[in-house]
Amino acid sequence: MELVCFGLNHRSAPVEVRERFAVPPVRLGEKARELTEAAGIEESVVLSTCNRTEFYLAGNSADEVIAGLRGAIDLGVEDCWYEMRRAEAARHLCRVAGGLDSMVLGETEIFGQVKDAYRRAHAAGATSGVLNRLFQRAFSVGKKIRTETAIQEGATSVAGTAVELAEKIFGKLKGCRVIVIGAGEMSRQTAQALVSRGASTVFVTNRSFERAEELANDMGGRAVRYDDWQATLAGVDVVISSTAAPHAVVKRFHVEAVRRVRKFRPLFFIDIAVPRDIDPEVAQIEEVYLYDIDTLEQLASEARGRRERQIEECGRIIDEELEKLNLPGT
Protein backbone atom coordinates (compact mmCIF):
# COMPACT_ATOMS: atom_id res chain seq x y z
CA MET A 1 0.00 0.00 0.00
CA GLU A 2 1.17 3.50 -0.76
CA LEU A 3 -0.06 6.76 0.70
CA VAL A 4 -0.65 9.85 -1.44
CA CYS A 5 -1.72 13.38 -0.65
CA PHE A 6 -2.92 15.44 -3.60
CA GLY A 7 -4.15 18.97 -3.00
CA LEU A 8 -4.11 22.70 -3.34
CA ASN A 9 -4.09 25.40 -0.71
CA HIS A 10 -3.91 29.15 -0.11
CA ARG A 11 -0.25 29.20 -1.10
CA SER A 12 -0.54 27.22 -4.29
CA ALA A 13 -3.87 28.45 -5.65
CA PRO A 14 -5.82 31.72 -5.68
CA VAL A 15 -9.32 31.79 -4.24
CA GLU A 16 -11.01 31.56 -7.66
CA VAL A 17 -9.29 28.18 -8.19
CA ARG A 18 -9.82 26.97 -4.61
CA GLU A 19 -13.55 27.67 -4.76
CA ARG A 20 -13.89 25.51 -7.87
CA PHE A 21 -12.66 22.48 -5.97
CA ALA A 22 -14.27 23.21 -2.61
CA VAL A 23 -16.48 20.40 -1.33
CA PRO A 24 -19.26 21.30 1.13
CA PRO A 25 -18.90 19.52 4.52
CA VAL A 26 -22.06 17.47 3.99
CA ARG A 27 -20.63 16.00 0.77
CA LEU A 28 -17.17 15.10 2.12
CA GLY A 29 -18.08 11.48 2.96
CA GLU A 30 -19.88 10.90 -0.31
CA LYS A 31 -16.96 12.36 -2.28
CA ALA A 32 -14.48 10.17 -0.44
CA ARG A 33 -16.57 7.07 -1.17
CA GLU A 34 -16.85 8.04 -4.87
CA LEU A 35 -13.04 8.22 -5.06
CA THR A 36 -12.64 4.70 -3.67
CA GLU A 37 -14.71 3.53 -6.64
CA ALA A 38 -11.99 4.83 -8.99
CA ALA A 39 -9.43 2.34 -10.23
CA GLY A 40 -6.34 2.07 -8.00
CA ILE A 41 -7.78 3.92 -4.99
CA GLU A 42 -8.45 1.72 -1.96
CA GLU A 43 -8.97 4.35 0.72
CA SER A 44 -9.79 8.04 0.66
CA VAL A 45 -10.38 11.08 2.87
CA VAL A 46 -11.36 14.45 1.38
CA LEU A 47 -10.45 17.55 3.36
CA SER A 48 -11.98 20.80 2.17
CA THR A 49 -11.77 24.15 3.95
CA CYS A 50 -11.72 27.75 2.75
CA ASN A 51 -7.94 27.52 2.43
CA ARG A 52 -7.43 24.03 1.03
CA THR A 53 -8.84 21.01 -0.72
CA GLU A 54 -6.78 17.86 -0.19
CA PHE A 55 -7.28 14.23 -1.08
CA TYR A 56 -5.60 11.67 1.18
CA LEU A 57 -5.54 8.44 -0.74
CA ALA A 58 -4.12 4.95 -0.32
CA GLY A 59 -3.70 2.24 -2.93
CA ASN A 60 -1.34 -0.48 -4.09
CA SER A 61 0.72 1.90 -6.20
CA ALA A 62 1.02 5.69 -5.91
CA ASP A 63 1.02 6.06 -9.69
CA GLU A 64 -2.20 4.09 -9.98
CA VAL A 65 -3.75 6.18 -7.20
CA ILE A 66 -2.90 9.42 -9.02
CA ALA A 67 -4.16 8.04 -12.31
CA GLY A 68 -7.41 7.00 -10.61
CA LEU A 69 -7.82 10.48 -9.14
CA ARG A 70 -7.23 12.15 -12.49
CA GLY A 71 -9.84 9.90 -13.98
CA ALA A 72 -12.38 10.80 -11.29
CA ILE A 73 -11.78 14.56 -11.12
CA ASP A 74 -11.05 17.19 -13.75
CA LEU A 75 -8.07 18.86 -12.06
CA GLY A 76 -7.97 21.88 -14.40
CA VAL A 77 -4.90 24.07 -13.85
CA GLU A 78 -2.10 21.62 -13.05
CA ASP A 79 0.27 24.22 -11.56
CA CYS A 80 -1.96 24.77 -8.57
CA TRP A 81 -1.78 21.17 -7.31
CA TYR A 82 0.86 19.58 -5.15
CA GLU A 83 1.50 15.92 -4.72
CA MET A 84 3.16 14.15 -1.81
CA ARG A 85 3.82 10.49 -1.34
CA ARG A 86 4.47 8.08 1.54
CA ALA A 87 6.23 9.66 4.56
CA GLU A 88 6.05 13.15 3.08
CA ALA A 89 2.26 12.85 2.78
CA ALA A 90 1.95 11.57 6.36
CA ARG A 91 4.12 14.41 7.62
CA HIS A 92 2.00 16.91 5.68
CA LEU A 93 -1.22 15.65 7.27
CA CYS A 94 0.34 16.03 10.74
CA ARG A 95 1.43 19.57 9.87
CA VAL A 96 -2.08 20.39 8.65
CA ALA A 97 -3.72 18.94 11.79
CA GLY A 98 -1.26 20.84 13.98
CA GLY A 99 -2.05 24.14 12.24
CA LEU A 100 1.50 24.45 10.88
CA ASP A 101 0.30 24.67 7.29
CA SER A 102 -2.47 27.18 7.99
CA MET A 103 -2.64 30.78 6.83
CA VAL A 104 -2.62 31.82 10.52
CA LEU A 105 0.15 29.69 11.97
CA GLY A 106 -1.04 27.52 14.85
CA GLU A 107 -4.77 28.17 14.38
CA THR A 108 -6.89 25.42 15.89
CA GLU A 109 -10.00 25.39 13.70
CA ILE A 110 -8.26 23.19 11.15
CA PHE A 111 -7.92 20.39 13.72
CA GLY A 112 -11.72 20.12 13.97
CA GLN A 113 -12.04 20.31 10.18
CA VAL A 114 -9.57 17.42 9.69
CA LYS A 115 -11.45 15.40 12.32
CA ASP A 116 -14.75 16.11 10.60
CA ALA A 117 -13.38 15.13 7.18
CA TYR A 118 -12.06 11.84 8.56
CA ARG A 119 -15.28 11.11 10.49
CA ARG A 120 -17.38 11.59 7.36
CA ALA A 121 -15.06 9.47 5.19
CA HIS A 122 -14.99 6.74 7.83
CA ALA A 123 -18.79 6.78 8.14
CA ALA A 124 -19.06 6.49 4.35
CA GLY A 125 -16.82 3.40 4.44
CA ALA A 126 -14.01 5.09 2.49
CA THR A 127 -11.23 4.40 5.00
CA SER A 128 -9.51 1.27 6.18
CA GLY A 129 -6.21 0.16 7.77
CA VAL A 130 -3.79 2.76 6.39
CA LEU A 131 -5.83 5.95 6.64
CA ASN A 132 -7.48 4.94 9.93
CA ARG A 133 -4.10 4.55 11.62
CA LEU A 134 -2.63 7.61 9.95
CA PHE A 135 -5.47 9.94 10.89
CA GLN A 136 -5.64 8.66 14.48
CA ARG A 137 -1.92 9.37 14.80
CA ALA A 138 -2.32 12.78 13.16
CA PHE A 139 -4.94 13.67 15.79
CA SER A 140 -2.67 12.67 18.64
CA VAL A 141 0.18 14.65 17.03
CA GLY A 142 -2.12 17.67 16.69
CA LYS A 143 -3.04 17.44 20.39
CA LYS A 144 0.59 17.02 21.40
CA ILE A 145 1.61 20.06 19.37
CA ARG A 146 -1.10 22.13 21.04
CA THR A 147 -0.26 21.03 24.57
CA GLU A 148 3.51 20.73 24.43
CA THR A 149 4.44 23.77 22.37
CA ALA A 150 3.46 27.43 22.35
CA ILE A 151 2.34 27.27 18.71
CA GLN A 152 -1.12 28.63 19.50
CA GLU A 153 -0.18 31.11 22.20
CA GLY A 154 -0.95 34.79 21.76
CA ALA A 155 -3.27 36.34 19.22
CA THR A 156 -1.74 37.11 15.83
CA SER A 157 -4.18 39.76 14.63
CA VAL A 158 -5.09 43.21 15.96
CA ALA A 159 -8.67 42.12 16.69
CA GLY A 160 -7.48 38.91 18.39
CA THR A 161 -4.95 40.80 20.50
CA ALA A 162 -7.62 43.27 21.60
CA VAL A 163 -9.88 40.38 22.63
CA GLU A 164 -7.07 38.72 24.61
CA LEU A 165 -6.38 41.97 26.44
CA ALA A 166 -10.09 42.46 27.16
CA GLU A 167 -10.16 38.96 28.64
CA LYS A 168 -7.11 39.75 30.75
CA ILE A 169 -8.95 42.74 32.16
CA PHE A 170 -12.52 41.46 32.46
CA GLY A 171 -12.14 37.68 32.45
CA LYS A 172 -15.15 36.20 30.70
CA LEU A 173 -16.58 38.84 28.40
CA LYS A 174 -20.17 37.75 29.04
CA GLY A 175 -22.04 40.87 30.11
CA CYS A 176 -19.33 43.26 28.87
CA ARG A 177 -20.63 46.39 27.19
CA VAL A 178 -18.80 47.87 24.24
CA ILE A 179 -19.02 51.18 22.40
CA VAL A 180 -17.66 51.53 18.88
CA ILE A 181 -16.81 55.11 17.90
CA GLY A 182 -16.48 55.33 14.12
CA ALA A 183 -18.00 52.59 12.02
CA GLY A 184 -14.94 51.48 10.05
CA GLU A 185 -14.03 47.95 8.99
CA MET A 186 -11.30 47.51 11.60
CA SER A 187 -13.58 48.54 14.47
CA ARG A 188 -16.29 46.23 13.12
CA GLN A 189 -13.87 43.30 13.14
CA THR A 190 -12.70 44.07 16.66
CA ALA A 191 -16.22 44.53 18.01
CA GLN A 192 -17.32 41.35 16.24
CA ALA A 193 -14.45 39.45 17.87
CA LEU A 194 -15.54 40.74 21.29
CA VAL A 195 -19.16 39.77 20.62
CA SER A 196 -18.10 36.29 19.52
CA ARG A 197 -16.42 35.90 22.93
CA GLY A 198 -19.54 36.94 24.84
CA ALA A 199 -19.70 40.76 24.95
CA SER A 200 -23.41 41.39 25.41
CA THR A 201 -24.15 44.93 24.32
CA VAL A 202 -22.60 46.93 21.51
CA PHE A 203 -23.31 50.62 20.99
CA VAL A 204 -22.21 52.13 17.70
CA THR A 205 -21.74 55.83 17.11
CA ASN A 206 -20.65 57.53 13.92
CA ARG A 207 -20.89 60.97 12.36
CA SER A 208 -23.25 59.44 9.83
CA PHE A 209 -26.07 57.97 11.90
CA GLU A 210 -27.18 55.74 9.00
CA ARG A 211 -23.75 54.10 8.90
CA ALA A 212 -23.89 53.61 12.69
CA GLU A 213 -27.31 51.98 12.37
CA GLU A 214 -26.05 49.72 9.62
CA LEU A 215 -23.12 48.45 11.70
CA ALA A 216 -25.26 48.19 14.84
CA ASN A 217 -27.77 46.06 12.94
CA ASP A 218 -24.96 43.83 11.64
CA MET A 219 -23.88 43.08 15.21
CA GLY A 220 -27.23 43.10 16.95
CA GLY A 221 -26.22 46.30 18.74
CA ARG A 222 -27.69 49.77 19.15
CA ALA A 223 -26.82 52.95 17.26
CA VAL A 224 -26.14 56.08 19.32
CA ARG A 225 -26.19 59.60 17.90
CA TYR A 226 -22.69 61.08 17.67
CA ASP A 227 -23.61 63.89 20.06
CA ASP A 228 -24.70 61.38 22.72
CA TRP A 229 -21.72 59.00 22.92
CA GLN A 230 -20.29 60.70 26.03
CA ALA A 231 -23.36 59.74 28.06
CA THR A 232 -22.96 56.12 26.97
CA LEU A 233 -19.37 56.05 28.26
CA ALA A 234 -20.63 55.74 31.84
CA GLY A 235 -22.09 52.31 31.20
CA VAL A 236 -19.50 50.57 29.02
CA ASP A 237 -16.40 48.50 29.73
CA VAL A 238 -14.66 48.66 26.35
CA VAL A 239 -14.29 51.58 23.94
CA ILE A 240 -13.18 50.86 20.37
CA SER A 241 -12.36 53.98 18.44
CA SER A 242 -11.56 54.25 14.77
CA THR A 243 -12.78 57.52 13.31
CA ALA A 244 -11.18 59.51 10.52
CA ALA A 245 -11.04 62.62 12.73
CA PRO A 246 -7.77 64.60 12.43
CA HIS A 247 -7.71 65.24 16.20
CA ALA A 248 -8.40 63.35 19.44
CA VAL A 249 -12.07 62.50 19.87
CA VAL A 250 -11.95 61.14 23.43
CA LYS A 251 -10.22 63.47 25.85
CA ARG A 252 -9.31 63.14 29.48
CA PHE A 253 -12.21 65.28 30.70
CA HIS A 254 -14.71 62.96 28.96
CA VAL A 255 -13.52 60.07 31.13
CA GLU A 256 -13.04 62.15 34.28
CA ALA A 257 -16.69 63.21 33.99
CA VAL A 258 -17.99 59.65 34.31
CA ARG A 259 -15.54 58.12 36.80
CA ARG A 260 -17.76 58.55 39.86
CA VAL A 261 -20.81 57.16 38.10
CA ARG A 262 -18.75 54.19 36.94
CA LYS A 263 -17.54 53.67 40.52
CA PHE A 264 -13.99 53.67 39.12
CA ARG A 265 -14.44 50.30 37.38
CA PRO A 266 -11.74 49.33 34.83
CA LEU A 267 -12.18 50.82 31.35
CA PHE A 268 -10.40 49.44 28.30
CA PHE A 269 -9.72 51.74 25.33
CA ILE A 270 -8.76 50.27 21.96
CA ASP A 271 -7.60 53.05 19.65
CA ILE A 272 -7.20 51.74 16.12
CA ALA A 273 -7.33 55.11 14.38
CA VAL A 274 -4.49 57.01 12.72
CA PRO A 275 -4.20 59.81 13.75
CA ARG A 276 -5.12 58.55 17.21
CA ASP A 277 -8.66 59.16 18.45
CA ILE A 278 -7.92 58.88 22.15
CA ASP A 279 -5.80 61.49 23.85
CA PRO A 280 -2.77 59.69 25.43
CA GLU A 281 -3.52 61.71 28.61
CA VAL A 282 -6.51 59.39 29.13
CA ALA A 283 -4.08 56.56 29.95
CA GLN A 284 -3.00 58.46 33.07
CA ILE A 285 -6.37 57.81 34.68
CA GLU A 286 -5.82 54.94 37.10
CA GLU A 287 -8.55 52.56 35.99
CA VAL A 288 -7.95 53.13 32.27
CA TYR A 289 -6.00 50.73 30.05
CA LEU A 290 -5.27 52.33 26.68
CA TYR A 291 -3.83 50.46 23.70
CA ASP A 292 -3.26 52.07 20.30
CA ILE A 293 -2.86 50.47 16.89
CA ASP A 294 0.96 50.41 17.04
CA THR A 295 1.01 48.55 20.35
CA LEU A 296 -1.63 46.07 19.19
CA GLU A 297 0.25 45.46 15.91
CA GLN A 298 3.47 44.99 17.83
CA LEU A 299 1.88 42.49 20.23
CA ALA A 300 0.38 40.56 17.31
CA SER A 301 3.73 40.54 15.56
CA GLU A 302 5.52 39.30 18.70
CA ALA A 303 2.98 36.48 18.98
CA ARG A 304 3.60 35.53 15.34
CA GLY A 305 7.34 35.50 16.02
CA ARG A 306 6.85 33.29 19.10
CA ARG A 307 4.76 30.87 17.03
CA GLU A 308 7.33 30.73 14.24
CA ARG A 309 10.04 29.84 16.75
CA GLN A 310 7.98 26.77 17.68
CA ILE A 311 7.94 25.28 14.17
CA GLU A 312 11.17 23.34 14.65
CA GLU A 313 9.91 21.79 17.89
CA CYS A 314 6.64 20.83 16.20
CA GLY A 315 8.59 19.19 13.36
CA ARG A 316 10.51 17.14 15.92
CA ILE A 317 7.26 15.94 17.52
CA ILE A 318 5.83 14.97 14.12
CA ASP A 319 8.94 12.98 13.15
CA GLU A 320 9.01 11.20 16.51
CA GLU A 321 5.34 10.24 16.37
CA LEU A 322 5.48 9.07 12.75
CA GLU A 323 8.54 6.96 13.50
CA LYS A 324 6.59 5.24 16.28
CA LEU A 325 3.68 4.58 13.90
CA ASN A 326 5.75 2.66 11.34
CA LEU A 327 2.78 2.72 8.98
CA PRO A 328 2.73 0.65 5.79
CA GLY A 329 2.46 3.02 2.85
CA THR A 330 4.74 5.65 4.40
Binding site: E153, I169, K263, F264, R265, P266, A283, E286, E287
Partner: protein
Protein backbone atom coordinates in the same frame (compact mmCIF):
# COMPACT_ATOMS: atom_id res chain seq x y z
CA UNK B 1 10.44 14.67 72.96
CA UNK B 2 7.10 16.38 72.33
CA UNK B 3 8.83 19.71 72.07
CA UNK B 4 11.07 18.46 69.29
CA UNK B 5 8.09 16.96 67.47
CA UNK B 6 6.07 20.19 67.27
CA UNK B 7 9.13 22.11 66.14
CA UNK B 8 9.70 19.54 63.42
CA UNK B 9 6.11 19.98 62.21
CA UNK B 10 6.67 23.71 61.98
CA UNK B 11 9.93 23.23 60.08
CA UNK B 12 8.27 20.74 57.71
CA UNK B 13 5.32 23.06 57.14
CA UNK B 14 7.67 25.97 56.37
CA UNK B 15 9.72 23.86 53.97
CA UNK B 16 6.62 22.56 52.16
CA UNK B 17 5.29 26.09 51.71
CA UNK B 18 8.72 27.24 50.50
CA UNK B 19 8.92 24.38 47.99
CA UNK B 20 5.35 25.08 46.81
CA UNK B 21 6.17 28.75 46.30
CA UNK B 22 9.47 27.96 44.54
CA UNK B 23 7.83 25.37 42.25
CA UNK B 24 5.12 27.87 41.39
CA UNK B 25 7.68 30.57 40.58
CA UNK B 26 9.70 28.14 38.48
CA UNK B 27 6.62 27.08 36.54
CA UNK B 28 5.75 30.72 35.94
CA UNK B 29 9.20 31.43 34.61
CA UNK B 30 8.58 28.66 32.07
CA UNK B 31 5.27 30.25 31.16
CA UNK B 32 2.79 27.87 32.78
CA UNK B 33 0.97 27.38 36.06
CA UNK B 34 2.20 25.02 38.72
CA UNK B 35 -0.48 22.45 39.39
CA UNK B 36 1.47 21.11 42.37
CA UNK B 37 1.57 24.34 44.43
CA UNK B 38 -1.85 23.62 45.91
CA UNK B 39 -0.65 20.14 46.95
CA UNK B 40 2.50 21.50 48.63
CA UNK B 41 0.36 24.08 50.39
CA UNK B 42 -2.05 21.31 51.41
CA UNK B 43 0.90 19.45 52.95
CA UNK B 44 2.05 22.61 54.72
CA UNK B 45 -1.49 23.03 56.05
CA UNK B 46 -1.54 19.49 57.50
CA UNK B 47 1.82 20.08 59.22
CA UNK B 48 0.44 23.37 60.61
CA UNK B 49 -2.56 21.49 62.02
CA UNK B 50 -0.21 18.97 63.65
CA UNK B 51 1.87 21.80 65.17
CA UNK B 52 -1.16 23.70 66.44
CA UNK B 53 -2.74 20.46 67.68
CA UNK B 54 0.28 19.62 69.84
CA UNK B 55 0.55 23.18 71.14
CA UNK B 56 -3.19 23.32 71.82
CA UNK B 57 -3.02 20.00 73.69
CA UNK B 58 -0.14 21.29 75.79
CA UNK B 59 -1.92 24.54 76.59
CA UNK B 60 -5.35 23.00 77.06
CA UNK B 61 -6.64 25.95 75.06
CA UNK B 62 -6.48 27.57 71.65
CA UNK B 63 -2.73 28.00 70.95
CA UNK B 64 -2.71 31.77 70.64
CA UNK B 65 -0.36 32.84 73.40
CA UNK B 66 2.73 34.81 72.42
CA UNK B 67 3.92 36.12 69.06
CA UNK B 68 5.15 32.73 67.81
CA UNK B 69 1.82 30.96 68.19
CA UNK B 70 -0.10 33.93 66.81
CA UNK B 71 2.11 33.98 63.70
CA UNK B 72 1.68 30.26 63.07
CA UNK B 73 -2.08 30.49 63.68
CA UNK B 74 -2.17 33.41 61.24
CA UNK B 75 -0.20 31.43 58.64
CA UNK B 76 -2.61 28.53 59.18
CA UNK B 77 -5.70 30.68 58.69
CA UNK B 78 -4.18 32.25 55.56
CA UNK B 79 -3.44 28.78 54.16
CA UNK B 80 -6.93 27.55 55.12
CA UNK B 81 -8.65 30.43 53.35
CA UNK B 82 -6.34 30.11 50.34
CA UNK B 83 -7.24 26.40 50.07
CA UNK B 84 -10.94 27.27 50.33
CA UNK B 85 -10.95 30.36 48.13
CA UNK B 86 -8.19 29.68 45.58
CA UNK B 87 -9.93 26.88 43.66
CA UNK B 88 -13.35 28.58 43.92
CA UNK B 89 -12.13 31.69 42.16
CA UNK B 90 -9.71 29.83 39.88
CA UNK B 91 -6.95 31.85 41.54
CA UNK B 92 -4.40 29.08 41.30
CA UNK B 93 -1.61 31.63 41.30
CA UNK B 94 -2.72 32.83 44.73
CA UNK B 95 -0.71 29.96 46.20
CA UNK B 96 2.50 31.24 44.62
CA UNK B 97 1.93 34.62 46.23
CA UNK B 98 0.63 33.25 49.55
CA UNK B 99 3.46 30.78 50.09
CA UNK B 100 6.14 33.45 50.75
CA UNK B 101 3.88 35.12 53.35
CA UNK B 102 3.38 31.78 55.11
CA UNK B 103 7.12 31.11 54.97
CA UNK B 104 7.97 34.55 56.40
CA UNK B 105 5.45 34.25 59.27
CA UNK B 106 6.62 30.77 60.19
CA UNK B 107 10.31 31.58 59.76
CA UNK B 108 9.88 34.44 62.26
CA UNK B 109 8.16 32.00 64.64
CA UNK B 110 11.15 29.68 64.28
CA UNK B 111 13.64 32.36 65.36
CA UNK B 112 14.93 31.27 68.80
CA UNK B 113 13.02 33.10 71.53
CA UNK B 114 9.94 33.95 69.46
CA UNK B 115 8.09 30.70 70.14
CA UNK B 116 7.71 29.77 73.79
CA UNK B 117 9.64 26.51 74.09
CA UNK B 118 7.70 25.09 77.02
CA UNK B 119 4.07 26.05 76.57
CA UNK B 120 2.43 26.38 79.96
CA UNK B 121 -0.98 24.88 80.51
CA UNK B 122 -3.64 27.59 80.77
CA UNK B 123 -5.20 27.33 84.21
CA UNK B 124 -8.57 28.86 83.45
CA UNK B 125 -10.03 29.50 80.02
CA UNK B 126 -12.67 31.97 79.04
CA UNK B 127 -14.90 31.26 76.05
CA UNK B 128 -15.07 34.94 74.99
CA UNK B 129 -11.30 35.31 75.17
CA UNK B 130 -10.86 32.20 73.03
CA UNK B 131 -13.49 33.44 70.54
CA UNK B 132 -11.86 36.86 70.43
CA UNK B 133 -8.42 35.43 69.69
CA UNK B 134 -9.50 32.74 67.22
CA UNK B 135 -11.92 34.91 65.21
CA UNK B 136 -9.49 37.82 65.10
CA UNK B 137 -6.66 35.65 63.78
CA UNK B 138 -8.96 33.87 61.31
CA UNK B 139 -10.14 37.29 60.16
CA UNK B 140 -6.54 38.31 59.74
CA UNK B 141 -5.99 35.22 57.60
CA UNK B 142 -8.69 36.44 55.21
CA UNK B 143 -7.30 39.99 55.30
CA UNK B 144 -3.81 38.64 54.59
CA UNK B 145 -5.16 36.80 51.58
CA UNK B 146 -6.96 39.97 50.45
CA UNK B 147 -3.56 41.71 50.67
CA UNK B 148 -1.94 38.91 48.64
CA UNK B 149 -4.66 39.17 46.01
CA UNK B 150 -4.11 42.95 45.98
CA UNK B 151 -0.38 42.51 45.37
CA UNK B 152 -1.27 40.30 42.41
CA UNK B 153 -3.57 43.03 41.11
CA UNK B 154 -0.85 45.68 41.50
CA UNK B 155 1.62 43.54 39.54
CA UNK B 156 -0.91 42.90 36.76
CA UNK B 157 -2.07 46.52 36.69
CA UNK B 158 1.50 47.73 36.28
CA UNK B 159 2.18 45.26 33.48
CA UNK B 160 -1.00 46.25 31.65
CA UNK B 161 -0.34 49.96 32.11
CA UNK B 162 3.28 49.71 30.98
CA UNK B 163 2.37 47.23 28.24
CA UNK B 164 4.91 44.62 29.37
CA UNK B 165 2.88 41.62 28.40
CA UNK B 166 5.30 38.89 27.45
CA UNK B 167 6.24 37.42 30.84
CA UNK B 168 5.01 34.05 32.06
CA UNK B 169 3.71 35.83 35.15
CA UNK B 170 1.48 38.08 33.02
CA UNK B 171 0.08 35.16 31.07
CA UNK B 172 -0.81 33.27 34.23
CA UNK B 173 -2.18 36.01 36.44
CA UNK B 174 -5.98 35.94 36.76
CA UNK B 175 -7.91 38.79 35.10
CA UNK B 176 -8.08 42.23 36.72
CA UNK B 177 -11.79 41.99 37.48
CA UNK B 178 -11.47 38.54 39.13
CA UNK B 179 -8.66 39.81 41.37
CA UNK B 180 -10.66 42.86 42.40
CA UNK B 181 -13.83 40.87 43.09
CA UNK B 182 -12.01 38.22 45.13
CA UNK B 183 -10.04 40.91 47.01
CA UNK B 184 -13.28 42.70 47.93
CA UNK B 185 -14.98 39.49 49.02
CA UNK B 186 -11.99 38.48 51.13
CA UNK B 187 -12.01 41.90 52.72
CA UNK B 188 -15.70 41.53 53.59
CA UNK B 189 -15.07 38.05 55.01
CA UNK B 190 -12.07 39.20 57.06
CA UNK B 191 -13.89 42.25 58.33
CA UNK B 192 -16.95 40.19 59.32
CA UNK B 193 -14.76 37.77 61.32
CA UNK B 194 -12.89 40.70 62.83
CA UNK B 195 -16.26 42.15 63.90
CA UNK B 196 -17.09 38.96 65.80
CA UNK B 197 -13.56 38.95 67.27
CA UNK B 198 -13.79 42.56 68.47
CA UNK B 199 -17.30 42.04 69.86
CA UNK B 200 -16.06 38.98 71.76
CA UNK B 201 -13.15 41.11 73.00
CA UNK B 202 -15.60 43.45 74.75
CA UNK B 203 -17.35 40.52 76.40
CA UNK B 204 -14.17 38.90 77.77
CA UNK B 205 -12.63 39.99 81.06
CA UNK B 206 -10.31 42.78 79.89
CA UNK B 207 -8.67 44.28 82.95
CA UNK B 208 -5.23 44.16 81.26
CA UNK B 209 -6.28 44.44 77.62
CA UNK B 210 -7.22 48.13 77.31
CA UNK B 211 -4.59 49.18 74.74
CA UNK B 212 -5.11 45.95 72.82
CA UNK B 213 -8.85 46.55 72.52
CA UNK B 214 -8.39 50.19 71.52
CA UNK B 215 -6.02 49.07 68.74
CA UNK B 216 -8.49 46.35 67.71
CA UNK B 217 -11.32 48.87 67.48
CA UNK B 218 -9.18 51.30 65.46
CA UNK B 219 -8.17 48.54 63.05
CA UNK B 220 -11.81 47.43 62.79
CA UNK B 221 -12.89 51.01 62.04
CA UNK B 222 -10.20 51.44 59.40
CA UNK B 223 -11.29 48.23 57.64
CA UNK B 224 -14.96 49.25 57.99
CA UNK B 225 -14.15 52.52 56.23
CA UNK B 226 -12.28 50.72 53.43
CA UNK B 227 -15.02 48.12 52.93
CA UNK B 228 -17.71 50.82 52.99
CA UNK B 229 -15.98 53.22 50.61
CA UNK B 230 -15.08 50.43 48.17
CA UNK B 231 -18.63 49.11 48.23
CA UNK B 232 -20.71 52.27 48.14
CA UNK B 233 -18.56 55.02 46.61
CA UNK B 234 -16.16 52.87 44.65
CA UNK B 235 -12.36 52.99 44.50
CA UNK B 236 -9.95 52.51 41.64
CA UNK B 237 -8.39 49.05 41.66
CA UNK B 238 -4.99 50.54 42.42
CA UNK B 239 -6.15 52.56 45.44
CA UNK B 240 -8.23 49.70 46.79
CA UNK B 241 -5.27 47.32 46.50
CA UNK B 242 -2.72 49.74 47.95
CA UNK B 243 -5.00 50.48 50.91
CA UNK B 244 -5.64 46.77 51.50
CA UNK B 245 -1.91 46.00 51.57
CA UNK B 246 -0.93 49.05 53.66
CA UNK B 247 -3.74 48.56 56.15
CA UNK B 248 -2.83 44.92 56.63
CA UNK B 249 0.86 45.69 57.18
CA UNK B 250 0.13 48.61 59.52
CA UNK B 251 -2.39 46.69 61.63
CA UNK B 252 -0.08 43.69 61.81
CA UNK B 253 2.78 45.85 63.06
CA UNK B 254 0.47 47.57 65.56
CA UNK B 255 -0.40 44.21 67.13
CA UNK B 256 3.22 43.10 67.06
CA UNK B 257 4.01 45.92 69.49
CA UNK B 258 0.90 45.76 71.69
Amino acid sequence: MERAVYLWFLVISTLLAAIGGAMGMRALRHGHRSRSTVLWMGGAFLAQIAFLGIRGEARGACPLIGLGEILVFLAWSLTLIYLLVGPTYRLSLLGVFSAPVVVVFQAIALIPGVLERNPQRVISTDAWRETHAAMSVLGYGALALAAVSSVMFLVLDRQLKEQHLSSGLFRNLPPVRELLVSGRRLLWLGWAMLTVGVAAGFLMPHEDAGAHLVAAVLVWLAYAALVGVAQFRGLTGRRFSLLTVVLFLVSLSVFAFI
